[in-house]
Symmetry: C2
Subunit: 886 residues, 2 copies
Amino acid sequence: MARSARKYVYFFGNGKADGSGKMKDLLGGKGAGLANMTNLKIPVPAGFTITTEACNSYFENRKKYPPGMWEQVLVNLKKVETSMGMKFGDAKNPLLVSVRSGSKFSMPGMMDTILNLGLNDTTLKALADKAGDRFAFDTYRRLITMFGSTAMGINRQLFEKALERMKEERGVRLDTDLTTDDLRKLVGTFKGIYEKETGKGFPADPLQQLKLAINAVFSSWFSDRAVTYRKLNNIAHDLGTACNVQAMVFGNMGENSGTGVGFTRDPSTGQKKFFAEYLTNAQGEDVVAGIRTPLHIDELKKAQPAVYRELETIYRKLETHYKDMLDIEFTVQAGRLYMLQTRVGKRTAAASLKIAIDMVQEKLIDKKTAVMRIDPVQLEWLMHPSFDPKAKVQVIGKGLPASPGAAVGKVVFLAEDAEAWAARGEKVVLVRTETSPEDIGGMHAAQGILTARGGMTSHAAVVARGMGKCCVAGCTALHIDEGTKVMTLGSRVLKEGDFITLNGTSGEVILGQVPLVPADLSGDFHLILKWADEIRELGVRANADTPADARMAIKFGAEGIGLVRTEHMFFEGDRVQAVREMILADDTEGRKKALAKILPMQREDFIGIFEVMNGLPVTIRLLDPPLHEFLPKTREELEDIARDLGVPFQKLQARNKMLHEFNPMLGHRGCRLGITYPEIFEMQVQAIMEAACHVVKRKVKAIPEIMIPLIADVNELRVMREMTVRIAEEVQKRTKVRVRYEVGTMIEIARAALLAHEIAPQADFYSFGTNDLTQTTYGLSRDDAGRFLPYYVEKGIFEHDPFITIDQKGVGMLMRMAIDSSRKIKKGMKMGICGEQVDPQSVEFCYEIGLTYVSGSPFRLPVARLAAAQATLKRKMKKGMSKASV
Amino acid sequence: MARSARKYVYFFGNGKADGSGKMKDLLGGKGAGLANMTNLKIPVPAGFTITTEACNSYFENRKKYPPGMWEQVLVNLKKVETSMGMKFGDAKNPLLVSVRSGSKFSMPGMMDTILNLGLNDTTLKALADKAGDRFAFDTYRRLITMFGSTAMGINRQLFEKALERMKEERGVRLDTDLTTDDLRKLVGTFKGIYEKETGKGFPADPLQQLKLAINAVFSSWFSDRAVTYRKLNNIAHDLGTACNVQAMVFGNMGENSGTGVGFTRDPSTGQKKFFAEYLTNAQGEDVVAGIRTPLHIDELKKAQPAVYRELETIYRKLETHYKDMLDIEFTVQAGRLYMLQTRVGKRTAAASLKIAIDMVQEKLIDKKTAVMRIDPVQLEWLMHPSFDPKAKVQVIGKGLPASPGAAVGKVVFLAEDAEAWAARGEKVVLVRTETSPEDIGGMHAAQGILTARGGMTSHAAVVARGMGKCCVAGCTALHIDEGTKVMTLGSRVLKEGDFITLNGTSGEVILGQVPLVPADLSGDFHLILKWADEIRELGVRANADTPADARMAIKFGAEGIGLVRTEHMFFEGDRVQAVREMILADDTEGRKKALAKILPMQREDFIGIFEVMNGLPVTIRLLDPPLHEFLPKTREELEDIARDLGVPFQKLQARNKMLHEFNPMLGHRGCRLGITYPEIFEMQVQAIMEAACHVVKRKVKAIPEIMIPLIADVNELRVMREMTVRIAEEVQKRTKVRVRYEVGTMIEIARAALLAHEIAPQADFYSFGTNDLTQTTYGLSRDDAGRFLPYYVEKGIFEHDPFITIDQKGVGMLMRMAIDSSRKIKKGMKMGICGEQVDPQSVEFCYEIGLTYVSGSPFRLPVARLAAAQATLKRKMKKGMSKASV
């Protein structure tokens, strides 16, 4: 062994480890945990970790160990022998070892463990002498199975079948019912299988066994399932895996032996209570195999109080050290406790909250750490009823997880039916090919919405998220026959009134009624958000269209309204009739007459919102959609309207045809309407300003921010700004009230982002409309993307659905360009985002690029507040680190 | 006068001028021309020019002359007096002067001239002594009219009406029938009008007259019509106007006096023949007023041969000096010739060509100059029949000038009718609400196409331009009733068979038949393009979908095909049936079966094109439109197809509904189809490569460039490239032929342009699809823009229609980013453009940003070739200038 060789092997044992808990990169998660426990003087069977560097070098060097590695293995094996007082391959007192992989990130099921290495016909005897024949042969056959299948690639079924045959022959049901003789024979059979499959005998040389096991661990890094797992989880392929070689301890050496697993606190509720299970005289794999049912840890307390006390001391020590709830594994061998593994434990959203808050109160962690501990996505789950995790479900289809939560109800196909059934107390799920504004009432009445068409930002999805209601959209396999009131999904045919369950978090459509656990927004929920608010620097606003929405927004912590969509107001009740009158008017005068009817209604809307938001800014977007959206689509509906309005059907039809657009998304809408029909926007500005002046007189502080949509060129904004200022000044003069108002624009068209430096002088603020910006940047209609976007995401062609998470590379580049070029002209210019992407990643990105606030539907604000706080903390940590490294 | 004052006044006279012909900035066009002629020893009445600087200073200084200017005027006025041997305001030998504006660029009608300044009751007598009482009073009343209306803003009608009244009183028809006494009285009346309107008497002081006239000239620079004219013609407002003060000469002083205008060559044909008219004993304004009909210049030759010879010498001298055809004005005063103006003459497209080429042969100019002289837009007019300029037309509507040229024919409303009527020898104009691929046959058969809907790149527009056929699109006032076969346009109702005329260059729809002059592509046309080709550095390709198109492309000078749209092939004849079979197939196998029917047809298409383009590259775009475009829209048509294909109507209807898209432009098309239905693109690549291998065997050189449409992310291109290479290699292996092929992509989505540096490694070439890139960058559907885009352009909200001329600021920024970032990775990477914008401005831009080639419809190639040559020359001139300035 060359003295100058790199250190590839890290020993742990006897209360001292070469490595430490921080060396996850080099030793993997498991190796770092073992080193850490050892250093904490916690009893851990001695062993050593071969580094991830060695693994990478192995692959770079055509599957040869790097120079010196094997020699270091041998040296450290000796140390293990010394520590355990046993010798590897020794005929009298043989050391057995386990070999396990362990990479930086947990990759469950990447590779099976190989236990009991070092056993051969010679050492078998010594083991039998110590622990009995039955134990020895049972251990041996397990080794051959694991080694043969894992290290040599023999089909595991061959061993399993031989075992089954033996049990049949003996007429027994359980492995444990086999006799020592049976097991001895089985070992012979297994050796035969091994030889037949590999062409060689089972290696008697323990060092040979060890080498092959190490090779198998290394090779498992590039196994198909490991590569796939890493792709799916965005883990780099060049991390490599470490290999942990550790002395075996046995929990199956009698009644004072046993094995256990546990959590330091309750992973379901977060209660501060040791939550563990124990199995006497058993090995870990028996628990996993479900052969025996583990007992409550109190059984250990009763049977071996000293061991239990030691375990208690240890888990408390570990919690204090890791400052988190832990998942632990341990073995008791003949009355002696060994810790085998520790790691941060998985938990439910509720437990996550409780543990974090408890630990702050216990002064284990500070508030910042608590805030960093909560997964914002998990937080969202808390806001919706969830499935009983014990329920068995039958999934019959899948769509897009358009709005999270769960919904159970009877299938109805028409919005009217949803309202009628709900009115008589039935729970219903509204199933539609797609929804339209006329369905709003039915959507409100339903528990959840399922649509066959439309993407994450289709009408159904947007409205459902706004309502905080579960929605599965774009379930393309779904066919609906409204006539016969029947839906077909896969091979299932459901009729009106049949029960169905939706999982809006996964997009699954489930047959029948799945029991639900109601949402519980505890004090913990609000406390953690309070802490988050103390930390975050990014503002959080809500998209809200009504006073009710606005109240919800305040409830969930909005600091203003980032988007009032005035068109939603146009659809309500009798208003749509006045809107249609306006559309059908032949000239400006006719339009103005119809608009005069809408004006007082719009004014009332704004008065209501201003009153709720007293003192907080309200960004109001002027009319955005093309006019034809306010006309119905079928001939029958058109005929109805013609009758209601008293206009000839032909005229209505002609106007409808004239308004038709091939690509409404790219059509005559937003400021293009405002420029060609200025009277519409003028009415809206008048309504906003009259409302503001009205409430100001009543001591309510109104802060309107008037927002012009769909700007592609500064000239459009210039014209619209002039109009807005003119009307606003007129109203103030008339009412003799001054109101602080601003005029800004959406940045939702690529060209506006590119030329933002030209637009900035005309805008008091920007709001990035990332839905439309994503649509135009990608040339992708969100309503039509359902046919290929899911496939794209599944195949990794797109990293994310850009309508869920902002595309940082493309759309984000435009946002950065717009922000930087505009702030060069207007330092500190106010800029927000009002698209639908308020997932944690997008929120962090918005903070990184310097936005003033994010705005989303009220129900998504908690996530945004938490994510914004985490983004601030992450930046501080980075700064701290870069300072530290200076 | 301060000695150090700036020089504001430039004298010309006595064969020497202070200024020169190059000083257009300072002296304006007219002033520079007068200085130039003076320096050339050409007889010009003496005068001086007050500079544009003085004008600008006048405005900067609250309408005060800059210090020293007026003094310089007085000094130079003295020089004029000396030169002409007369004195301004002198009672015996009075000098009269004219005052005219003259800016750098000709601004016709910006301001009227004031003639005869210097006349008052005193000088009047001297004039009467010299030229008779009648002449003197006539001159005086003209002065009062011009001065009063132009300098003092009196309504000219007041003078005109007084004149009319006098003629009525006297019972005469013509001004010239009035007696001296009548005119004397009229002068009195006019002075009365002047005093009543201005509150002051007509200024008797000649210097006061001069000062007010100069002020009027300066002020005219910011008159409403001048400002509007400059806006419309992109002329800067800070250029200012010069003011020319010049001694009057009189062509109405007897039979040996006269006035004339002319062109040094024929402005209609370009023939090298003096083309002028002369009027004896008359002033220029008499010619303009149309009171007397001018005679052929030969009359002058007969009457005053010496003067004629001098004129001949002068115009030849001028042509040699200016090296261009000139427009001249002259006056003969008592047998003495004076030149009053010279400038480059306006001419027809044909004349422009002939003159440029003749002058090269005369060695007056070189080929480069000739190429620079031709306006590419004018060149295009030569390619289409044009209106007889003498015809009177009745315009009844206006649409977009979608495809240039003129068309006369009978109105038909259905494509079938167009074909049937044309087959029996009728000329028809196809009038449709919009066209679709099914109308192609009818469009071919028609003289021109008129649509009510769609923009510059609507189906009708694109196809018509491709055919070189006249089209007026988006005539929104047009209503068609296909049922009764009647169209309404404005107040006109036309029925099938009525005659209509379209002007595709102006967008006008004209009632009845306007006589046309056929297109004449003379040798001159091809010669100038040959010269352009020798100069230009930018490649020129054609968009062509068939062998016939390809032949047309070669005829018009294409160096390759920049875009074969394979979808057009899918529409033809029986193919669409196979395509529909494919669309209706339930699975990949079914689709493959249908595709197998299309394969041999596609292969034949490509064989045909490769054979025509032998040795030239052919860029073939794989299927671009969404599949639903291949299904018809009406229930009746769907029923027909169901019958033809033998599928249940319900199934067809369901599939049609499923394929429906809200925004097809942003839908499931291009590479998104290729990725989700790989078999379609595979078939196309196979057809291309089999065709290429086939022709190579027959010694035809095929250079296929396979182009993937609608890339938004490099991963899409990676998948498509792998597929293409796999199929291409397969075909080559099978056929044992090697073909040089390339795989590239369209850059037509904003995101692809933004992330081009990621895409470049996967692409052998780019083609900018500026139609779609414009649509996505602006968020603007070209098919729907007709409702507001014309308004936007008219109001100056958008500088241009970005579908006609590339938006250099926004779309151009994306193009520059893509080009620069990609060429950093792939130096000299081949990049072209295949959008519809091949107007001269866009061609120059493409050259400036470094594209390899432009590609447009064959009929637009001559324009592109010429514009490309001019772009090269402009750059060289700029370089030359910047070198010279070093």
